[in-house]
């Protein structure tokens, strides 16, 4: 049976039901696959940020990212960021599939990568590196 408890919150009585995995017919899976997806998406985001800032800083690099003329350097940035996401996931998923990892380091690393991605794609940041 689910655990049913009563607690008082500011004078209000609140019913709380706590389910266990068995009661919901859940076979608990390790968190490795979630960590792999999280880190891969975060890595793809960071790559997008790095490519965006790199292209702003070096015209020659931006030219190399011009994979499709109509779209310009953005075509290379999105292609390589998307590839980074897929490849990172393909590499990490089999390695972490059956592993249970400590969440804190995974969350800190993923958070840092995602913040890097947001920062690198922000014009006020990447314009700092643009040639005079």
């Amino acid at each position: 049976m689910a655990t049913s408890t009563m607690r008082s919150d500011g004078g209000k009585r609140i019913d709380e039901v706590t389910w266990t995995a068995e009661e919901l017919d859940i076979v608990e899976k390790p968190n490795g696959p979630a960590a792999a997806a999280l880190l891969a998406a975060a890595f793809g985001s960071l790559v997008m940020g790095i490519l965006t800032t790199g292209a702003a800083a070096y015209t020659g690099f931006a030219d190399k990212l011009n994979l499709q003329h109509r779209v310009g350097p953005l075509s290379g940035k999105v292609t390589f960021a998307g590839l980074a996401f897929v490849v990172a996931w393909a590499v990490l998923a089999p390695v972490l599939w059956k592993r249970d990892l400590a969440w804190t380091p995974v969350a800190v690393l993923a958070g840092a990568l995602i913040v890097g991605g947001f920062t690198g794609t922000f014009p006020k940041f990447f314009d700092l590196f643009a040639p005079g």
């Binding site: 689910a2 266990t20 891969a40 997008m48 953005l74 075509s75």
Partner: protein
């Protein structure tokens, strides 16, 4: 009442896919947030989980469709260079913004931010969708997994929201015609 091909694609990119994205986000977030042991019943779990899975998968798919159509269909029209000697820049929004006093920042900041940050959204939304699809009911009892999905989901929305907002302003300043 007619839309040109460009206007139709711009509307599909920004309004149809954008609205679907918002709808899927709102439903998905509410579903994830309320997926707490004290708020679910055994009978309600399967119905709620199905709705959540549809919502997050829909959001991830729509995020990919929106960014791909935006980048490869709409954006080339936006950035197209006018032929030498063109004085009417109506059909060249980027050039129009850069040439109009007080509007250049819509390109230099708005479009530059939009075109890049938008691409974080499908990757983050896909990871969130995977977590929901793969773990399902485990999210009810595993608070950390649920929070990982929520944070990814909100980050995906933040990226798409920034891009969408800039897109709306830019379309107002220099519509694609």
């Amino acid at each position: 009442m007619e839309l040109t091909n460009r206007e139709a694609w711009t509307a599909a990119h920004g309004m149809i896919f954008g609205a679907l994205f918002l709808l899927a986000f709102a439903g998905g977030l509410a579903g994830l947030w309320s997926l707490r042991p004290e708020w679910v019943t055994r009978a309600g779990v399967s119905e709620r989980m199905l709705r959540l899975k549809v919502g997050v998968t829909g959001m991830a798919l729509v995020a990919w469709v929106t960014t791909i159509t935006g980048t490869y269909i709409v954006y080339p029209w936006y950035r197209a260079k006018p032929p030498q000697g063109t004085t009417d820049l109506t059909h060249y929004p980027k050039s129009l913004l850069l040439a109009t006093s007080g509007k250049a920042e819509w390109h230099k900041f708005g479009m530059e931010w939009k075109e890049h940050v938008a691409w974080l959204s499908p990757m983050l939304a896909t990871a969130a969708a995977f977590i929901v699809l793969y773990y399902g009911n485990q999210l009810i009892v595993d608070r950390r997994l649920r929070w990982a999905a929520i944070v990814l989901f909100v980050a995906a929305f933040a990226a798409a929201g920034a891009a969408g907002l800039m897109g709306a302003f830019i379309t107002k300043a220099a519509p694609l015609q």
